[in-house]
Subunit: 354 residues, 2 copies
């Protein structure tokens, strides 16, 4: 249970904005097609990872997550004059790469559950999970090659593949930084922002950029979407950090304080480290130096976060980037509907509960 | 020390055939260029993985392996009329993907040393090694994109990327099969051949196919090189199996019987399982059922392998595929020099000591 004293006023249970329903069927079909072949059991593991099967291989109804990355890619493509069909291979590829990274993340972080279900390595062992992740990464590539056939220009396909590869590399570099920073909680807010703009931001930025590249040849518009994506990536991850600390367990699938217990480099903690003074500073330093993080330590850290106003700071920073994201699009001359969609998306990322 | 009773007559210490020297500088430069950027420490880990740095980050002289895959790619390209420059991006990409797969293999197999040095996960921990492997996989992609710029046709670049992706997926599927078969030593020789033709064969087959695709537009010649590669892949892995059991520790970096101790599904063991009878069969079955594999068990398995002639069988099968590899090229109308080179390559793979 969240500590009410630490929460901002609670919001009613959220439904996803309409934009997440608009492309749901197309995205689901594209993803399923990309995994339609493959007899080896590893493909069943991947269908499980994508939420279509339960652990015994039975179909799960109403499955799948919100598919954020493909959705915003298609949104950007339509907003810039393209069609859903044109961008679907790239959109599917983004979701597959994202899911791949979660599979490997769970191995690295030794996370045994995700969305209330066992993670792949917890269920099938680490070697198979590692290979399954690599397999999904290739399936993502193959989905992308469909861009190149038969109509779309090969030149554009290569640009898209190039960008996605670069984004993916940036994402891995961010994961590497994240691992490197573990156990060294004194990172600056600038280091934190650099790390998350790579780890999480790269793929979100890429999703909007790719959508725009497929939708238009106007490089200024493409730039605007990239800038928008850069800001939205920060909004997304900062909100993720807040949810990882104060989110509702039933919604996020993580207990309150989960990311404190795991000593993750989240913005509230990074901020608190930089702002706390006196005994609070000593307390934080000693807790993060210590190997064990029990309930008492988590509560103590939550107390310091409240003292320094870490949650409010995080929300304020996210809100600023949310505004910047929408300002980036001012020059792109979008239709009123497209602007409305992008605004709905940005605000959802800022306040989402899951 | 190898047990002399189990060894075929010893050969003099081998030097690499001349073809491995022919492209060494070009391959080294292309690989180094592909890793020339990147400030994060993860790139230093990768330079270590490629044998250019020691564990402290100091340059290692005369470094690097034999670079089999890029060498045969360039060989095929030149043999079919192409230039080294045209095929270098693909060649470098092949080596990077191969090295990437070793990094992840070592994590999966819990191997702490490779070529007498600590493996990445043993030195820097598993999370960083996992990420380092993924990073190298992307660097490989990026090397490949160079094919598309500026002169080479985008269509061919996409075909090459597509093939490499497919080969890579096949390789992972083979790794998956290999893991799945662990602890179930009763696999058939057909299952074994299917597994290695994916796990190891795919990338070698791909190396020759890509070289030919870049060298010529003649689809019959490309087919001939693909068939040749299919056979050479089997030769390579069967020889690897033999070396993993009877190879000289000083040359291979593995103690004698290493792959028996680890219960790997190697051809000699698979063959012995299928051929042993009576008490030998029971002995093998009980040893492979058992969790622990000590020196006594390894010696006992080596004894059964000798009884059934497993080493000779493996060599005979490899020799047959070596012949088939060269026969595949009969229709390709290669120059006498190219035929000589390919013959030298095939025979080396059959009898190599490392």
């Amino acid at each position: 249970m969240a500590n009410p004293a630490l929460s901002t006023p609670s919001r009613p249970s959220q439904s996803l904005p309409a934009i997440f329903g608009r492309y749901r069927n197309e995205i689901g079909s594209a993803l399923k097609e990309s995994l339609s072949q493959g007899d080896l059991f590893v493909y069943q593991m991947l269908r499980y990872a994508l939420g279509w099967l339960d652990v015994d291989g039975n179909a799960v109804s109403g499955s799948g997550g919100k598919a954020l990355r493909p959705t915003i890619c298609l949104l950007a493509c339509e907003a810039t004059g393209g069609t859903i069909e044109d961008a679907l291979p790239a959109a599917a590829s983004l979701e597959l790469i994202h899911t791949f990274s979660l599979i490997h993340d769970d191995i690295q972080d030794r996370d045994r559950t995700r969305h209330h279900r066992p993670t792949l390595w917890a269920e099938w062992g680490e070697p198979k999970a590692l290979v399954a992740g690599n397999t999904l990464r290739v399936v993502a590539d193959m989905s992308l090659w469909r861009l190149a056939q038969p109509d779309a220009g090969a030149g554009r396909a290569i640009r898209v593949a190039d960008l996605l590869t670069e984004a993916y590399l940036t994402m891995i570099e961010g994961q590497y930084l994240d691992i490197s920073y573990e156990g060294s909680p004194g990172i600056s807010i600038a280091e934190y922002l650099d790390m998350i703009s790579r780890k999480t931001g790269a793929l979100i930025r890429c999703a909007l950029t790719l959508g725009a590249i497929i939708g238009t040849d106007d490089e200024d518009v493409i730039d605007a979407f990239r800038d928008c994506g850069r800001s939205l990536g920060l909004v997304f991850q900062i909100r993720d950090d807040v949810l990882g600390i104060w989110g509702d367990e039933g919604t996020t699938g993580k207990p309150v304080g989960a990311d404190i217990r795991r000593k993750k480099n989240t913005l509230p903690v990074v901020y608190a480290m930089s702002r706390a003074s006196g005994s609070d500073k000593d307390l934080l330093a000693s807790i993060y130096r210590d190997d064990d993080m029990g309930d008492d330590e988590v509560t103590a850290v939550l107390g310091v976060l409240e003292t320094v106003g870490a949650r409010e700071y995080a929300h304020r920073l996210a809100a600023e980037h949310c505004d910047m994201a929408l300002e980036s699009l001012a020059t792109a001359e979008l239709s009123p509907q497209a602007l409305k969609d992008m605004g709905e998306l940005a605000r959802f990322l800022l306040v989402r509960e899951h």
